[in-house]
């Protein structure tokens, strides 16, 4: 019990704060903050997905914007065909668009996962900096593809006109949407906590720490890494589907490399390979950005050095403040 509190205390506390926030916000007249809080949760979800490969698998992907954007575009394109363009004819079949999240969200996960399968299968032959750059390369290819794809708005992007419907939930209701984001994040964290304790997580961390040894033990390391990458890409796609609904808009900006960078920054800031690290990281970075922008238009002048100070003096990120480095990954 004590161990549980030690490991999960701060993370659960923050989660509880997020769960209670809407009631508190309503009492304080801060309903506007729900959208900011939802954005934090969505980025935490994407960063959490990245953490699976980065923290537990040691694979630094600099191309997760591809999966984030792919998920967003699946939702937007389906809605666009539903509202504006009408059905597409593929091989004689009339395929209609949809604004139904029960179809669009799983499809977003599927497409992002398949994309991760292709990119992962090609990229995982490399490692270290080379892996960072090859994942970036694939993301950039997709970015330029969407910038120059005139049918779906190109650089101007696509407007969704309304959020998807997730019967019986109405996502146009900010509160329902907020709790959907929170619920999915909680689900991801719980699943991750289980996966990490299972054989899969054990194998993944073993590969991260010493791939040669795991190969010698007869473990198909490539397959493990690929599976983790696909899982991570698929969940990032789900986060993308959510962000498209939050902003009711998608554009290639969601596919651009600064998004990949921001996700990395969130994971590192929060604590690599820590269960709640991405939640800490996304919360800290976006709240910091918010607070500094309220303070001055020169907010980047302060944000930059703060990030540097975190690296220099808080090794292991925010989650690492709780325990000395090397005390095990949770």
């Amino acid at each position: 019990m004590a161990r549980l509190a030690r490991e999960h205390g701060a993370g659960l506390l923050l989660g509880l704060a997020f769960a209670l926030w809407p009631a508190l916000a309503a009492a304080l007249g801060l309903e506007w903050s729900l959208e900011l809080a939802a954005r934090i949760l969505i980025y935490a979800l994407a960063a959490g997905a990245l953490n699976l490969v980065l923290g537990y698998g040691g694979l630094v992907s600099f191309g997760h914007a591809a999966f984030f954007g792919a998920g967003a575009y699946v939702v937007a394109i389906l809605a666009y065909h539903d509202m504006v363009l009408g059905p597409v004819a593929i091989a004689g079949l009339e395929i209609p668009g949809t604004s139904d999240a029960w179809i669009a969200f799983p499809l977003a996960v599927l497409v992002a996962g398949l994309l991760a399968l292709v990119i992962g299968a090609l990229s995982l032959r490399t490692n270290g900096l080379y892996f960072i750059m090859i994942t970036l390369a694939f993301a950039q290819m997709i970015y330029y593809l969407f910038v120059s794809l005139p049918d779906y708005g190109g650089e101007d992007g696509l407007s969704l006109f309304a959020r998807s419907s997730l019967r019986p939930l109405e996502l146009d209701d900010n509160l329902a949407f907020y709790y959907l984001c929170l619920g999915l994040l909680a689900l991801l964290l719980a699943a991750k906590a289980l996966v990490v304790r299972a054989r899969f997580g054990w194998a993944l961390m073993g590969i991260r720490d010493n791939e040669r040894r795991m190969t010698a033990l007869g473990l198909p390391t490539f397959r493990y890494k690929l599976a983790a990458f696909v899982l991570s890409g698929a969940v990032t796609g789900l986060a993308g589907a959510l962000i498209a609904n939050l902003t009711e808009f998608v554009s290639p900006a969601f596919l651009s490399w600064p998004v990949s960078g921001e996700l990395l920054v969130m994971v590192i800031l929060g604590g690599i390979g820590r269960l709640y690290g991405p939640l800490y990281g996304a919360t800290a970075l976006l709240l910091l950005e918010f607070a500094l922008k309220e303070w001055s238009e020169h907010w980047q002048l302060a944000l930059g050095p703060i990030l540097i100070l975190v690296v220099l003096f808080a090794r292991g990120g925010l989650a690492g403040l709780r325990r000395p480095r090397g005390a095990g990954h949770g």
Binding site: G9, A10, L13, L14, A17, L24, L28, G29, L30, E31, W32, S33, E35, L36, R39, Y144, V147, S148, P150, G153, G154, E155, D156, G157, S159, F161, I243, L246, T247, E248, F249, S251, A253, F254, Y280, A284, L287, A291, K293, E294, E297, H298, W299, Q300, L318, A319, L321, R322, R323
Partner: protein, 391 residues
């Protein structure tokens, strides 16, 4: 860490009510939210829009049209999700009744439909994508600058009038670039020596310039906003093409902020604009002098648009005294009863400008490069999308 996290949460809780505004009361000033780009690449445009707008507010001592206003400015960092979240925050927290400021078309498409649906008026000081002028128009959306195609259409008309027969066209490979060349060709009917779409954000144009020279056109029209245009104009001059093949483009690449960076390479280039600092009317003279006095630099096109956005709002507030009666305020905006710094100005049925578009030439005044009006491409020019707009 538990302690620290709790402390952080507590600090956040404590800080939030401080920045939260109370709902607007009748006696409160009219709140205007400005979302614009103040950091990173392209921040020069956002800063000019903000400064132009603020100048108009400062001139009236914190009022517009005699009504006290509160201007709330925030930085979108050129990211769509940041912009939409800011818009939501300004509507829900700050209870803004009017919004303005966005520089880029994609951010406008992300934000405008959402806020106009929420009953907020949006006055665009720059971006005017075809979607918002046509099918996606809204009773609460007004554009005080131009529809995106306008300046390109003007250049097309001018190049047509001058009798060029074989024009080479260059624009970035994105919707605004395609719209630009389509707009140009809407009025230019001669031959096309080549139509090239470059990469967004490209800096090196050696390949395009070599191909262009090889195609032997009698004129070149280009639309490359921001740093892309700076690079292109410099490289065009360095390739020795200045004076050989005349270059034409919209004002964006010959604006005061850009000319200072391009230097002599732009001298003599003809470009199109709805505004210039030498337009001779009282409002413009006061604006140019006031801007220089307040900020110590020459105003840019974007500053003039920010200023006009504020003056348009002022004209409507003067008539209505506030935004409480939305229909009255909308009617007052539609009347556009203000002295625009560009001279004659009125709105078309889709709330986009009907205005004169000038042709200017880059000249040197002492040491400073700037523009001089040399002709008029269009009088009372509207846009091609008004018919698609059903309000």
């Amino acid at each position: 860490m538990k302690l620290r996290m709790t402390a952080l949460a507590a600090a956040t809780l404590a800080a939030l009510p401080l920045v939260a505004g109370a709902p607007a009361k009748a006696a409160d000033p009219v709140r205007i939210g400005m979302i614009t780009t103040l950091s990173g690449g392209g921040s020069g445009l956002g800063i000019d829009i903000r400064d132009g707008f603020k100048l108009a507010v400062d001139e009236e001592g914190g009022k517009l049209g005699g009504v006290p206003v509160e201007l709330i400015v925030d930085d979108d960092a050129r990211k769509p999700d940041v912009a939409t979240e800011l818009a939501n925050r300004m509507v829900e927290r700050d209870h803004v009744q009017i919004m303005t400021g966005i520089v880029w078309s994609n951010l406008a498409i992300a934000v405008v439909p959402k806020v106009t649906r929420a009953g907020v008026f949006y006055i665009s000081p720059n971006a005017g994508p075809s979607l918002l002028a046509g099918k996606g128009c809204s009773p609460n959306y007004f554009n005080v600058a131009w529809q995106n195609d306008n300046l390109h259409e003007a250049m097309g008309q001018y190049v047509q009038d001058k009798g060029f027969k074989k024009v080479y066209l260059i624009a970035p490979n994105y919707p605004a670039g395609k719209d630009a060349l389509a707009g140009f060709k809407r009025y230019y009917k001669g031959g096309v020596a080549g139509e090239v779409y470059t990469q967004l954000g490209q800096t090196d144009y050696a390949a395009e310039i070599a191909a262009l020279r090889d195609a032997k056109p009698d004129a070149v029209f280009f639309f490359l906003p921001g740093g892309m245009g700076i690079s292109f104009i410099k490289q065009y001059a360095q390739a020795g093409l200045n004076g050989q093949i005349p270059l034409f483009g919209p004002a964006f690449s010959f604006d005061q902020g850009i000319l200072g960076a391009v230097g002599e390479a732009a001298l003599g280039v003809v470009n199109s604009s709805q505004w210039n600092k030498d337009i001779d009317n009282a409002a413009n003279r006061a604006f140019v002098a006031g801007f220089q006095k307040a900020y110590g630099r020459l105003p840019s096109l974007y500053a003039s648009q920010g200023y006009d956005a504020a003056r348009l709002i002022a004209s409507a507030l003067k008539k209505t005294g506030g935004v409480a009666d939305k229909d009255a305020f909308r009617k007052a905006l539609e009347a556009a009863d203000f002295d625009s710094v560009r001279g004659a100005f009125k709105f078309a049925s889709n709330h986009h400008p009907i205005q004169t578009i000038y042709v200017r030439e880059v000249v040197k005044e002492g040491d400073v490069l700037t523009n001089k009006i040399i002709g008029t491409a269009f009088k009372e020019h509207g846009d091609a999308y008004a018919a698609e707009c059903k309000m």
